[in-house]
Each structure stands twice: as C-alpha cells, then as structure tokens.
C-alpha cells in the first residue's frame, strides 16, 4: 500500500517517497527499485500500475438511486431495545409510557402537521415568499379552488379533478341546459366521482375545507349512520335513491360499459345491492361487457344480500364466475379475496368452498396475498372450541408461507399477522408462534404488522404465550428485548409474566417488575398490585430478599395512599393490607407494620388470622406485652373468634401486670358477653 501511495506523489515529493520507500524495501519487493529510477514521470506510470495485467475490464456503470446512500446507512441501524421508538421526541416527558399515550402522542404530532398545512392552504397569500433553493413544491400552499370560470367542459374537468362533487354536478347541469354536449369520457369521469363518493363530498380530511359543505357532510353521515348500522358500512354513506349519479346516468345519451360498471361499483360500495344486480342485468341486455372490477363488486353484492340461503348464494357466486370465464374476463387477486372475504359469513359451510377457491387461485397462477391467508384463518378459526378439536390448516399455511416476502397487494394484508398470532395463542403452540414471528421478521414483512393497536395485540398475545410456555430465562430475554421499544405492556401482560416467574420460582425478579410497572403507567392497577403483593407475601424467603420485598411493599403502599388522597371515600382493599403488613413484619420494618394495624381499623377491614399470629410472634420476639394486648384489642374489636386464643396466648407467653390481665379479661369477656347477651336476647 505504501508503494502505491508513494507512487501517486507528484514530482516534488518524489525524494521524500524515495526516502520512505527505502525503509519498506524488505516488504515491497519490486517497488523500491522503480523509485530509484528517479523519473519525474513516475507517478503516472505508477498510477497505471501493476506488472501483469493485459486486459482492462471496464465495469458497467452503476446508477444509484437518489436515496441509495441513505438506504445503505439506514440498513446498518438496528433497533435499540433500550430506546423509545424514533417517532417520539427524545425527551423523558414526551416519551409515552402506555399504549394510550403512545397513540395520542403520534396523533398529536400528525395533527400538528395537518394544522400547519391547513393554515397555509387557507391563507395562501401570506405564504408566498419562497426562499428555499431549490424550490420545494410540497411546502408551498396548494390550490383547491377551481380556477377556470365559465361554463365549459374544461371547467367541468377541472372540478372533477379537484373532487368537487356539487360544483361538478352543477357545472354538468349547466352545460346540458346550454345545449353543449358533454363527451362520454368526461361524463364517465363525473360518474366515477359520484359513484366513488356516493354523491357526497369527499371527507374533510382530504382537503381541509371547513366550509359549510363539511357540515352538510356530517349531517348526512349521521342520518345515514342510523340507516346503515346493519350494513356496517365504513363511512355510513348509503346510496340514496334517485341521487345525482342515477339522474346523470339516465340523462346520458351515450353509455358505454364503463358507465354501467362504475355505477354498479358505486352501488355495491354504498350498499344498494339489489339495484346493482339489476343494473348488471341491464348491462347484459345492452350486450355490453363488465370488467373484472365490476364482477368483483357483483360477487360482493351477491354474498351480502339478505334473506337467502347460503347454498343459493354460493351457487350464484359460482354462476358469476362462470360468466366471467365465458366472457373471457380474467379474474384477479381481488376476485378471489372478495370471495373469501364473503365466505367468512357462511361460517362452517364456507370451509369447503374456501379451500376450493384457494386451490383454484393457485391453479391459475394467481399468487395469494397475506389477506387471502387472513380470511382463511378467520374462516377456520372463527368460533374456537378447543374441546371439539381445531383445524390444522394453520400449519399448512405456515409451511406454505415459510421464507416468503410480501408486498402490498390487498388493503387487508395487514390483518394477517394478528390473526395468525391469535390462533397460535388459542392453540397454545409456541413453536408455531416462533414460525409466525420468523415470517414477520423476513425481509420487509414487518411493515405488515399494521397500525398501533394491531401491533400491540400481536405482541401481547405473543408475549403471553411466551410467559405460558417458554423457559423463564428466554422469556426474560424477550421481555428485555420487546418492552418498551416494540410495545408497551398492558397490566394483564405483566400479570402473565408474574405468574411465569412464580412457576419458575424466580420471585426475586418481582421488585424489578414492579418498578417497570410503574414506568408503564400501571401504578394504580389494583389487580396487578394485588398479584405482586400476594406472590411476595405467600412464603418466607431469605432475609435480603425479604428486605427487598418490604421495600417494594412500601412503595406499593404509597401508591395506595396517593390513591386515597384523590378519592373522596378512601378505600383500601383487604388483601393488600394483609400482605403489606406481613411483608413489613418479615422485612424487619416492625414500626411500620404496627402502623398498618391501625389502618385495619380505620378502613374497617378484617385482618387475617395468620397475620395476627405473626404479629403475636413479633411482639413476643421484642418482648412487648403492650403490643400483644393491642393485638387482642384489635381482634376483639372485630369480634374475631380467634380473640380467645390470642388472649390465652398472651397470658401464657407474656409477663403481664395485673391491670393488663384484667384488661384482657374484659376484652375476652366482652366477646363472651356479647355472645351471652345475644343468648339472653334470644331467650327473651
């Protein structure tokens, strides 16, 4: 290397090179001799270099994408399991601690950007100054108002392009009144607009328009919601009879198959199923042909129609497919996915048709997408009844999908992983879950995990399954890896983890879990806290561990206290009181333990017998008769049957004064008195 480097030295530095190369003689062999020739033209020759090459192979020029360098850099960065996801601001206050927070933070970020865009677009005249070099179009205001005035087809086209439904319809009507013929193409694109949006303005998200139009839209949506609740349509937009689309369709002098097709698709989208099927008949009567998208819509219409037997529906769908084949319309992925989607409603009847459909798809060479498998899984695992025995088809599916990489082909592709993991969870099969997770981590498949809530669902199920079935060390590794960088656990997930720790007898990890629980916003989850306390208090442990548990219990107690402070009617649950007291005792925090006893009376909760015994032991250990008597007082206050036993124990084990004896006697007699009183009462 030194030889080459020095070879590049230009003229002046040659001498220096010669001196340097003198030292490298031993290593570089031939090179030094070349330098000693002292020629000023050496560098060039050195550049051409090496002795033996006869032929120069010119490599092909590589063209690099403009983001190639960045992509290469991005590929070197792995997920940091100790950090929050990149999308959040790296500030302790702004890092979310629960999934609810996470969602609201992301929404806040997005809505901020939307608000800024809205302002810019609403007041474009204030944002004309363009200082960016080069010009950045996406930061400039966008124009949504139609520029072309007057009544012309060009104006109509512009309004259609800007997706102004009302304006387009008005323009169309004006053109017709003026007697101008509107071309078929423009009419068709108007129909497209009307049918796609169901004769409503596109939703306000698209264009940030806070005009009266969006208010009308909201009213319309509310009306339609009531009508279409059963249909369950996304936006609640239903196809009104005699709406503009139908009217314009009727007005059109010339209609081609596109016109019919778009009408049918619009009707199906907005749940005017019968009309869609009727229009299809009309299309056939006019000897026109439907395209594959229309057929897909018709299949959906057939499957969704009410009041028909499932077999009849299936037969009709088959007939539609046969018509498709007869008319030489090529089915696409959506055709089969639509069929499978609709078959889900057929419950168990749909299983055989679904498999047949799937095989048909493979036979004609259409590659199934993740959505396909999702529908199949839903169909076969819809109503899980593990006692009856589950389908094995998930294993087929996972074998089929091994190692495959996917690209988006269907809007439902992001549903696959969560349904697959749900099935693994139901079947309690960890190996299968690993397979699913492996598929998720293949190539870019991780992007199909879907939005937040689906990702959380997937990982919650996965982690719960791990807690249930996997060895504790591996589970803890997954815990460190996934939480909190991939998902934030719900309290149930943490409870599952605690139970796993219990089974594996690793209770010493519990204080750490409590610390984490606080971080994830579960400080006030009673179920979780009780579980933690119960596990800690159940058995005796070596002293250091006991101390750690006592600290943890103290922490939990403080959460209860702060909860108390908030509520008007403070209420401690009974079990935690017991557990905390016992943990304090065992952990050596006797003073605080005695304070806890006071809380029993305050919140009117009954202490457990074992607890009282332990307190008695502690009193004995510290040789404090006063405390012992306190215990008996407490027991009698609650009229516990164990009071007698305790009193006797005090008398036996402790050295007490006469007064104390009498006091004890009173206490016990009180209880027996109350018994006798009740007897007397009954006697009367």
């Amino acid at each position: 290397m030194a030889a080459v480097a020095s070879g590049r030295c230009v003229g002046v530095r040659c001498r220096l090179c010669l001196m340097l190369t003198g030292q490298w003689t031993g290593l570089c062999g031939k090179a030094p001799s070349r330098f000693y020739s002292g020629s000023a033209t050496l560098p060039k020759i050195e550049g051409a270099n090496v002795t033996g090459i006869e032929e120069v192979v010119i490599p092909k020029k590589k063209t690099w994408d403009k983001v190639a360098v960045l992509q290469a850099l991005a590929s070197t960065v792995n997920r940091d399991s100790t950090a929050a996801p990149y999308a959040f601001q790296d500030d302790p206050y702004l890092i979310p601690t629960s999934s609810v927070e996470s969602r609201s933070f992301l929404l806040a970020k997005k809505s901020g950007a939307n608000a800024a865009k809205f302002i810019i677009n609403s007041y474009p005249k204030y944002f004309q100054k363009d200082t960016a070099e080069p010009h950045i179009p996406c930061l400039m205001p966008e124009y949504f108002e139609p520029q072309i005035e007057g009544i012309s087809e060009a104006a109509l086209k512009e309004r259609i392009k800007l997706k102004k439904v009302r304006a387009s319809v008005d323009m169309f009507d004006q053109l017709l009144q003026a007697g101008t013929a509107v071309s078929l193409e423009t009419s068709n694109s108007l129909l497209d607009l009307l049918c796609y949006y169901g004769d409503q303005e596109p939703s306000a998200d698209n264009h940030f328009h806070q005009s009266e139009k969006s208010e009308e839209l909201e009213e319309a949506i509310e009306e339609n919601n009531e009508k279409s609740k059963k249909a369950g349509h996304q936006f609640g937009v239903t196809w009104r009879a005699k709406n503009n689309a139908e009217r314009i369709f009727a007005l059109m002098l010339e209609k081609n198959s596109h016109s019919y097709c778009t009408m049918i698709r619009g009707m199906v989208k907005h749940r005017a199923l019968v009309q869609a099927l009727n229009l299809y008949t009309e299309l056939l009567n006019n000897r026109l042909h439907a395209d594959v998208y229309t057929f897909n819509a018709l299949i959906e219409a057939t499957a969704l129609s009410m009041n028909e037997k499932l077999e009849d529906k299936w037969n009709k769908i088959l007939e539609l497919l046969k018509e498709m084949a007869a008319q030489k319309v090529k089915p696409n992925l959506q055709t089969f996915n639509t069929i499978l989607k609709c078959l889900r409603r057929f419950y168990s009847f749909g299983r055989l048709p679904a498999l047949q459909t799937f095989r048909e798809m493979k036979a004609i060479g259409i590659e199934p997408s993740l959505a396909t498998y999702h529908y199949i899984i839903q169909l076969f695992y819809q109503h899980e009844n593990p006692s009856k025995g589950s389908s094995l088809i998930i294993y087929d599916i996972m074998n089929e999908l091994k190692g495959k990489k996917f690209s988006p082909k269907d809007p439902d592709d992001d549903m696959f992983f969560q349904s697959a993991m749900r099935v693994c969870s139901v079947l309690r099969d960890l190996e299968l879950a690993y397979q699913v997770h492996g598929l998720l981590n293949t190539g870019d498949n991780w992007k199909f995990i879907g939005p937040d809530h689906r990702r959380n669902f997937y990982y919650s199920k996965f982690f719960s399954l791990l807690c249930l079935m996997e060895q504790i060390d591996v589970t803890l590794k997954w815990y460190k890896d996934l939480i909190p960088s991939v998902f934030l656990p719900r309290s149930q997930t943490l409870i599952d983890l605690l139970q796993a720790l219990d089974v594996a007898n690793r209770l010493e990890v519990i204080p750490q879990i409590w610390k984490d629980s606080k971080e994830y916003g579960h400080s006030f989850r009673n179920a979780l806290k009780e579980e933690i306390l119960m596990l800690m208090a159940r058995d005796r442990h070596p002293p250091e561990l006991q101390v750690a548990f006592a600290d943890c219990a103290a922490d939990i107690r403080s959460t209860y206290e702060s909860q108390d402070a908030r509520q008007t009617a403070p209420d401690w649950p009974a079990n935690p009181l017991n557990y905390i007291a016992v943990l304090f005792l065992r952990g050596g925090r006797t003073q605080e333990a005695w304070k806890m006893l006071g809380l029993f009376r305050k919140h009117n909760k009954i202490p457990g017998n074992e607890l009282l015994d332990e307190f008695m032991d502690s009193a004995k250990a510290s040789n404090n008769p006063a405390q012992a008597i306190e215990i008996v007082k407490l027991a009698s206050a609650f009229s516990l049957p164990v009071c007698e036993g305790l009193a006797q124990r005090v008398m036996a084990d402790f050295v007490i004064s006469q007064e104390q004896k009498e006091a004890l006697g009173d206490l016990t007699s009180l209880t027996s008195d109350s018994d006798s009183d009740s007897d007397i009462g009954e006697g009367k």
Binding site: Y293, L355, K362, S390, P411, F448
Partner: protein, 332 residues
Amino acid sequence: MFPRVSAIIPLRLLSPFPLCPGGSEAPAAAIVRLGAPHGTVRTKNEVHRYFGTNNVICNKKDEQSAPTRDISKETETQESVKENTKKDLLGIIKGMRVELSTAKVQTTRPPNRRQLKSIEATTGRLHKVPEDAPKKRTKSLSPELVAAAAAVADVLPFDKQMTKSELLRQLQQHEEVSKAQKDGERAKISVSNIISDMKIAKSSTARVSTRPVHQIQFDEGSNDYVGQKKTNDLKKSLRKNMLKGKRLNIFDLKAVTEEAPETETAPSLWDVEFAKQLAEVNEQPLQNGFEEMIQWTKEGKLWEFPINNEADQLGFLHMAAVEFLTARKSKD
C-alpha cells in the same frame, strides 16, 4: 403366466391419499409399474417390502406391486400358457412397464384382497422358511412361472437367488390359496377387516371411514375432527391437504394467462384511490433518522446526496449570485 397381462388394458389404482379405504368400493384402478429402481441400494427388508410383504401400509408402491403379482398369478392359474405372449411378456418385464386391466381387477379383487391378507399373515414367517421348502414347492409350479420369476429376478438389482426364491415362494403360496378357494371355500372378506389388518404407520385410524360419502369429505373434512392429541406424524400427513384437493374448475390456466389485447386507458378514480389504499397498508412510523431523511429526500425537502453539481438544484445559486451582483451594481 403373465399372458393375460400382455393384453394391455389400463388398470388404475385409486390415487394418492386415502389409498386404504378407497381400494375397495370404487372401481379401483392404477397405472402399475414394476418400476426398476436403478442403482438404488436396498436392504433385505426392502426386498420384502417391495414385494408387498411386510408393511402393507398406505404405500403406493406396495399396493401397486401386490395386486399386480396377484392378478398375474391368478390369471396364470386360470388360463393356459401361450408361447408368443410369454415372449412379449419377458420383453415387457425387461422394459419394466406393465399395464393391466380394470376389468381384471374387479373380477379378481376378492382373491387379491385375500392374498394381501394372507401375505400379511405369512410375513413373519418369511425368514424362517427352511431352504428345502422352496425346492419342494417349485415342483408344483409351471416352468414358465419359474422362468418368468428368474427373468424378474435378473432385472431387479437385488440378490438374484434370494429374489427368485422369494418370488417362487409367493407364487407357491398363491397357488395353494387359490386351490383352496376353488374347493369352494369362500372366505368372507370384508374390506374393513383387511384395512384393520393393514399396518398403518400413523397413530389413529379410527377416523378412516370406507363409505364413499365420508371418503369424499375426507380431504376437506379431516381438518375439523382432529382430537387434541395430534402427533407430529399426523400433522405431516395432513400437511398438504390445503393444496391438494378439488378446485372450482371454472377458470382455465391457458385462458387466464393469454394476453388479451388491452386498451390503454388512463387510471380511473377507482384505480387511483385503490393504489392509495394499498400504499397505506404497509406504512409504518420511521425507525431511525436515516429513514426520515429518505422520506424528506423523496418529498423534495432535502437535497440529494451525494450532491450532484450538474443537477438543476444548484442552478438557483447561479441566479442568486447574479441577482447579488446586479444588486451591488445598482447600489454603486
């Protein structure tokens, strides 16, 4: 011997999966091949298996080879030998392909099944058969049989003597059995008995039903009724169920793949919106700073790296420089 066999009429056995129940009811048929495993090494056990002796599992080869031989033996005992057909036959064996008739199977099926059963029964005893027994037995076999057996033994890559003696013994047994049958005894053969006798290497056979109704559904319905204890074997055996089986048979691969002349139309609103929906499917939040920069570069907010001096992006700098100079000039 194999004369009948040479009358080539196709014979088809029931296709793959439920071999065992299917062979009975439906007109069983199979394209039978005495396929020569050229160069494969087989152990003694495999010899037995090849000749359909030991594990008469739902194994295609066994089933194929067993009926073949049985059929051939049966025809031999029933018919007289023909010289010319025998020569054809030896040629066929050399070519290792035999096609048999459907009809034959139907008429000869009961004996076949019985044969299977008896073969099963005698499995264990194969090795223990004393050596002189074969000699004794071959006496009652016709010379053509013996010659054919020798030819088969020659072609197969096993130990020739062993093979030959095995074959002959089988033939002999078959003779005895068929004689006994001729004497009027008709054993009641129920398919289910045979199936239950058959050793199946999988755990549960309770599910296997021989009725055609269940049989058809077996492919599809087996997914439903699996008990909690599923063994790995069972899983593997059902693995291919999803892909194999009936399809709708509505579309034809050729018709679908041929390129229809498509008119180029601009994408309609439906297509555009669908494409937008698809793009949203695998949208995920950005994972690191580089991805954010990639996003910005694509949107045009960030310069491309490495900076390309020839690109328009720096053209404005020239313009700005010009403006600066003119501004200076105007000041002056």
